[in-house]
């Protein structure tokens, strides 16, 4: 205990300065070099996305779709009078229209009358050659007749042509601003495109965030009907696969004359659809395939003399576990058509309540229960006559599943309506997918965003812009094509697989792995810095006191 305490000699200024600069330089290396390197090497790659543009698209700030429809009018009267008629009709039409985005524009077609008189007309942009221009939505042919009820109209079923018969005195006089013919034409056109306007207005108000001040109002029934139609229909695709399947719980019938039935009942419809989508058809026969065992057995009803399926069981009718209804290989959705021939002991099999024998399954396909007529039995082979009622139902179901509107009566007009509504809905869905991706980007900072996603986003916005421009220009087919590509690219970007991978590898893991290195290095650094700070503070205090 008697050891003498000797104080160490006071430190020189140089050695203190040296020690402090050593500690400082270590800290500088760690903070300025170590941390950035660590940060850089463990960072997740996130490609730059044009977030503002994406949000703008989703909010409908970039593109407000308009649908200018061009309607050619063919009149057998001199051009000046014709122009006057068109002007008057256009006025009447504009007064009737409540939905500004959907606009009908009348144009004078090169009429046969002009050709006959071999008069040269300088094309000033207001006349079109209606027979060759495919962007013309409708051709109105005015035909002067002397007899019959005038004016009257007739819509052709297989070409986009409206014939209007009029009497000579119904033409507007050059001085007047209205005429019975012009009013009639305007009303006819308005009636013709009423449903399409409702459909587009519905799409615009429900599927997009575009602020639509002047939207056509529609009744709740119309809205419900439009809602129902849009939930039934498939998304637009360039190719659909149609699968026709015969299911029966026994082994009779074991064959069907499906080729000839398809040729007669389905092919004509598909041919007219060919300009929008392609179709592949496959068929199969499946025996010993009863409906799903999980639903209640049908009950025999004495009044209807039929076995009745409960309505709530229809959704469970498809035996998904046993029926081989896998989707066809290749891009595009598969539309399933199921023809079910019930067991002999359960014939006729009908749906309770409605007594129907067929129903639609939204975005999946249609089911028809085929009962033999009267007391007959089906033979081992179903003939074309046996299949006829089922095939009619299938083609009706196919129209609903493809989203083809019910009116007007002319098939080409309905198809072009379909093109417009599909282009609009694809445009909206691609835009909203972009918006969702932008939100995802902000909400999950830990997921990697590869360059592929940025590229897809760029492609999407480019094609969306094209689609929008083409809509404005009235080129609806091209718009549809661009909107489809935009939609596909947007989906590709949103469902990019490599974005999911690292969500489950959080920052805590990285720290845990490197802790054996960081811990032992950080402790002496921190301790030395603290000690030095302490001595500096002590020296400062000492100087103050002194």
């Amino acid at each position: 205990m008697g050891s003498s305490k000797v104080n160490p000699p006071p430190e020189t200024k140089e050695s203190v300065w040296l020690r402090r600069s050593v500690i400082l330089s270590f800290w500088l290396v760690a903070v300025l070099l170590g941390l950035p390197v660590w940060w850089k090497t463990t960072a997740i790659y996130r490609a730059e996305l044009p977030l503002q543009t994406m949000t703008d698209w989703a909010d409908g700030k970039v593109c407000k779709p308009v649908f200018p429809l061009r309607i050619a009018v063919e009149v057998p009267i001199p051009p000046s009078e014709a122009q006057h008629l068109i002007r008057t009709t256009q006025h009447a039409l504009d007064d009737l229209n409540e939905f500004s985005a959907h606009h009908l524009r009348l144009m004078l077609a090169d009429s046969p009358w002009v050709a006959n008189t071999s008069q040269q007309i300088v094309s000033d942009g207001t006349t079109v050659d209606a027979r060759h221009e495919e962007d013309i939505a409708l051709l109105i042919r005015l035909i002067q007749v002397g007899t019959g009820n005038t004016p009257r109209s007739m819509l052709r079923a297989y070409s986009p042509t409206l014939d209007i018969y009029y009497a000579a005195n119904q033409l507007p006089s050059p001085s007047s601003t209205g005429s019975p013919l012009a009013t009639f034409m305007a009303q006819e056109l308005h009636k013709l495109f009423d449903e399409e306007q409702a459909l587009l207005a519905y799409l615009l108000s429900t599927k997009s965030k575009i602020p639509t001040a002047k939207v056509k109002s529609f009744s709740p029934e119309t809205a419900a009907e439009l809602e129902r139609q849009s939930t039934i229909a498939f998304k637009y695709a360039p190719t659909y696969h149609l699968t026709f399947s015969l299911f029966t719980p026994t082994f009779i019938p074991s064959d069907w004359r499906i080729e000839s039935a398809l040729k007669q009942y389905i092919s004509p419809f598909l041919d007219s659809f060919a300009s929008i989508s392609n179709f592949t058809i496959d068929t199969q026969v499946q025996l010993y395939s009863a409906y799903s065992p999980s639903i209640q057995k049908p009950v025999y009803d004495e009044d209807q003399k039929a076995w009745l399926l409960r309505k709530e069981d229809l959704s469970g009718f498809i035996n998904a576990a046993e029926w081989p209804l896998s989707p066809s290989i290749g891009a595009g959705p598969t539309v399933n058509f199921v023809l079910y021939v019930p067991d002999q002991a359960e014939t006729p099999l009908l749906v309770q309540g409605s007594g129907a024998n067929s129903w639609l399954i939204p975005q999946w396909g249609g089911v028809v229960i085929l009962n033999p007529s009267g007391t007959d039995k089906f033979g081992p082979v179903l003939t074309k006559q046996d299949l006829a009622p089922a095939m009619h139902t299938f083609s009706d179901q196919l129209m609903s599943l493809l989203g083809l509107p019910r009116a007007p009566a002319s098939l080409p007009l309905r198809l072009s309506t379909l093109v417009r509504s599909r282009a609009a809905s694809l445009l909206f869905s691609a835009s909203s997918t972009l918006g969702a991706l932008a939100r995802l980007y902000n909400a999950l900072p830990s997921i990697p965003i590869p360059d592929k996603v940025a590229k897809s986003v760029d492609l999407t916005t480019a094609h969306l812009q094209h689609a929008c421009d083409n809509l404005r220009g009235g080129r609806f087919r091209t718009a549809l094509e661009h909107a489809r590509i935009a939609e596909a690219e947007a989906e590709k970007a949103f469902f990019e697989r490599s974005m999911v991978g690292q969500v489950y590898f959080p920052d805590e893991h990285k720290v845990a792995v490197y802790l054996p290195l960081l811990g032992p290095i950080a402790v002496p650094l921190v301790m030395a810095a603290l000690k030095e700070l302490q001595s500096i503070i002590r020296a400062l205090k000492a100087r103050k006191n002194a």
Binding site: K5, N7, E259, V285
Partner: protein, 581 residues
Amino acid sequence: MLSFLPLLLFNALIACTAARSDYHERLLLRPLPQSALLASFTFRSNESSGAFEEQNFRYFPRSLGQILQHAHTKELHLRFSLGRWDASNWGQMPWNGAREGGTGVELWAWVEAGTEEEAFSRWLALTNALSGLFCASLNFIDATKTIRPVMSFQPEGDHHNMSRLHLLHGTLPHEVVCTENLTPFLKLLPCKGKAGISSLLSGHKLFDASWQTMSIDVRPVCQKEGDCAVEIEQGVDMVLDLERAKRPLDNPIPRPLPIEEISCDGSKPYNAPDTCYPLTRTADSSWSLNEVFGTSLHGACPLTDDRDGNSHTVCINVQPEREIQVKTAGEYDESRSASETLRCYKLPVGEAFDLVLPEQQMTTGLVLPTPPLYAARSINGHGQERGSVQAVIRNPSTTDAVEFIYLESLPWFMKPYLHTLRAVIDKSEGNPVKETYYRPAVDRRRGSHLELRVVIPADSSLSLTYDFDKAILRYTEYPPDANRGFDAAPAVIRLLSPRPPDRKGVYTRTTSLLLQLPTPDFSMPYNVIILTSTVMALAFGNIFNLLVRRFVGADEVPSRRGLRTILQGKLERFKSLVKGP
């Protein structure tokens, strides 16, 4: 003893085909020695090639048909196998081995394509689609598991443009075949296991068998020019142990019989009444279809063609004097052929059908055909660096030499040395290898592929050996159960002479091999990180302290109120408190 003629006849019977849409099915039962029973199910249907191209499917399954069209596959052979065929006891395989596959999954197909790359991409599409259809890991057949055999396989169908067809072959020896593969298999059948012989197939019994193979063969068949059909043949061959199969499903654990039911050897002295020397049973044991398959046969599948006696779908190959009782409520028909050793039954439609064979003391037996070759293969050597493979192939015939193709498809991490290949015949000199085709492995890109054409003289055996190196895999390349080992695919042996009786050929396969590779400790990366970190931290700490510390004499250390002095002070105060003033 009776000669074994029936099986060959039977093969010829089912081989006749027609180019129209039709369906056949047939079940052949054959008792084997040691109370085993061979059951061969065959289902065959046709679709005219016109209807097939237009995708109008009637008997041909749509799901499979679309896959074949999508992948441009003209001929397909798919096998799911389990267990080992005991050739020394059971004799020749059913269908001469042409419907057998190696353990696990084996797939080979002729794919139509312009170039090799295109063929391979279509092959990948095929394996991926089949993987989904059959719930098997077929999608793992990648470039490393795919070979292009040169001599081992011949197309069974009639092809027009052979020059555009590419043969690709892939195996998954590790795949465990189970019920989830049987269910999609049954779904492909027109009668779906609801009627006909397919109603006997249940996963419980099939995958409990000593040996089983499920096969699917698709090939184009042309009667004459332009009159073509696509034929699909599905088969299930299984060998059931009768005693094991007869155990009820709800009580599958074998228990000793009560002593009253055991026949004891009375010639021996017993010291107590509860002891017994059981007599070995000489009689053929009793069994019935219901007992053995666990389900009843729900009558005939009514789609079968009625012509040419094809409607007799259940056949049993036993001695003529063997008693068989037929139990059914419906009408059936029995026909006997092949000197009465083959009995076939036409099943009633919609009525259950059962065959009961009571226990019977037999004086004669059926002669089993000897297989043309016996093959066995094993891995020799020790250690984790290298090993060798030995295949022993024996020709049992005393008169004919046998010529065959021997095909090995080895994984890339098993690297054979071709110069160590030795083929030795025990009874004669000279090199039995007539032709060699070898394609060496490329690491992580493709496996080795070895094909040999070999001749073995009569009554002698060939021993084929070669050495190989074991590669060390990357950390991430090991499967989850790395210590179990890696499976090497079975070798395929195709007979060239004596000439096979039909286009299907005669095949034998060896068992698969289990290859042990050096397996790392899988916590290694974390250990490495920790060790490196510790070393770096040690070095850093030393240098840092040397630079920062101030060195003073031992007596110059400033006194500090350390933990010890604080504790001492506390202790002093406590002591003084206890002692009191």
